[in-house]
Symmetry: C2
Subunit: 201 residues, 2 copies
DNA sequence: GAATGTGAAATCTTTCACAGCC
DNA sequence: GGCTGTGAAAGATTTCACATTC
């Protein structure tokens, strides 16, 4: 259970957490590695091994307690802490993310939104007032933003990313169609639908 | 170059394609595996090996021709064909995707949009008229939709997915916060921002 | 009886290192 | 000199299979 947890395992954890939430909502109390594997299209052995890196959550002969395991995973993933996020680029996509309910109660809070268009600055979207990107630096510091969401046209993507990194964010959620460059200690996740789709062939 | 191409390599290809597009726009003619590796945070050896599965695209002593390689990859990824997509769920996120320019000229065309809310049915978003989900089946067949985008509340996710699969789509882009179950021959890609974010810890 | 947790084996992926080419 | 393409080595991940627990 100690030191070395494989990278891939960590990337799968959120999927486990998500499916457990679903199972809990459906009223399932106990689930076997077999059943989890069916749901996630993985082998039961993989599920068991993955979970075993973090502790012994199961009961032999029965399986895993859905609610208990879910709570464990949420804790491991840091979902009981709250992370502050800032959005840069309030276009169609940015606007959708701002009003997207999904972040709440998953431990994320959108605390600032920026755009370069003076016409948008000052207007209210959701609970936030759009600020000019020039205010990025002070605001990120002041509201302790840890994650930046990049939703600007590709051409500005790197500049915005650099700026966010310079402000000290620890992670970037990239919604733009470009490949961000960041230092090793900053995380990047891509949610460009085009990239996601292309690998389907 | 023949048979067995690793799964992971295929998943990386769209990233390569994307960065080559960027390089081309910046006017770069030739790029080395070293330079590509820097941009993608990968080792030069990995880049070379990945590309070698598909052919010998590079020139020793110089590197890879940006435009040429880009064209090769686009072909391998089937980006020169056009894929038809249908969106189910015209909420905030769905609406953003409908008006999202990014799909065009990447070989994807949004050809239909569905919602269950009678208040939305009939209204126009982008170039499409929203149809009732009851029309899903005939429309998908008629407009030869190959990819379905699921952007509905989690509770309806599986029903919509099942329906799309029953209509014969080959891929699902899942934007909802649930874990879809599909037959083995259907692809699923997740673009739930919450899942993407959670694995940052 | 049923299902976990886990070393060991099998498989997959990355990296090394160098011959060959421009 | 610089850089690709590629077998072989190293490393990571998945699967097997079984002792163990409930």
């Amino acid at each position: 259970m100690p030191a070395k947890i494989p990278e891939v395992v960590i990337l799968r954890l959120p999927l486990y957490a998500r499916i457990l939430t679903q199972l809990e909502e459906e009223g399932t109390d106990v689930v076997s590695s077999q059943a989890l594997g069916d749901l996630l299209q993985a082998t039961p052995a993989q599920i068991r091994k993955d979970l075993s890196y973090f502790g012994r959550f199961g009961k032999q002969g029965r399986g895993y307690n859905v609610r208990g395991l879910q709570r464990e995973l949420r804790q491991i993933l840091g979902l009981d802490r709250t992370w502050n996020m800032a959005l840069v680029g309030v276009g169609q996509l940015g606007r959708a993310l701002l009003t997207y309910g999904g972040f709440e109660n998953q431990g994320f809070r959108m605390v600032a939104a920026f755009d370069a268009d003076p016409g948008k600055v000052g207007s209210e979207v959701g609970a936030l007032i759009i600020q000019h990107v020039a205010d990025l630096r002070p605001t990120v510091a002041e509201r302790s933003v840890q994650v930046g969401i990049v939703a600007v046209p590709a051409a500005y993507g790197q500049d915005v990313t650099d700026e966010l990194v310079a402000c000290g964010v620890k992670g970037i959620l990239n919604c733009a169609q470009f490949q961000p460059r960041v230092p090793d200690d900053v995380w990047v996740r891509d949610i460009d639908p085009v990239v996601a789709r292309q690998s389907m062939t």
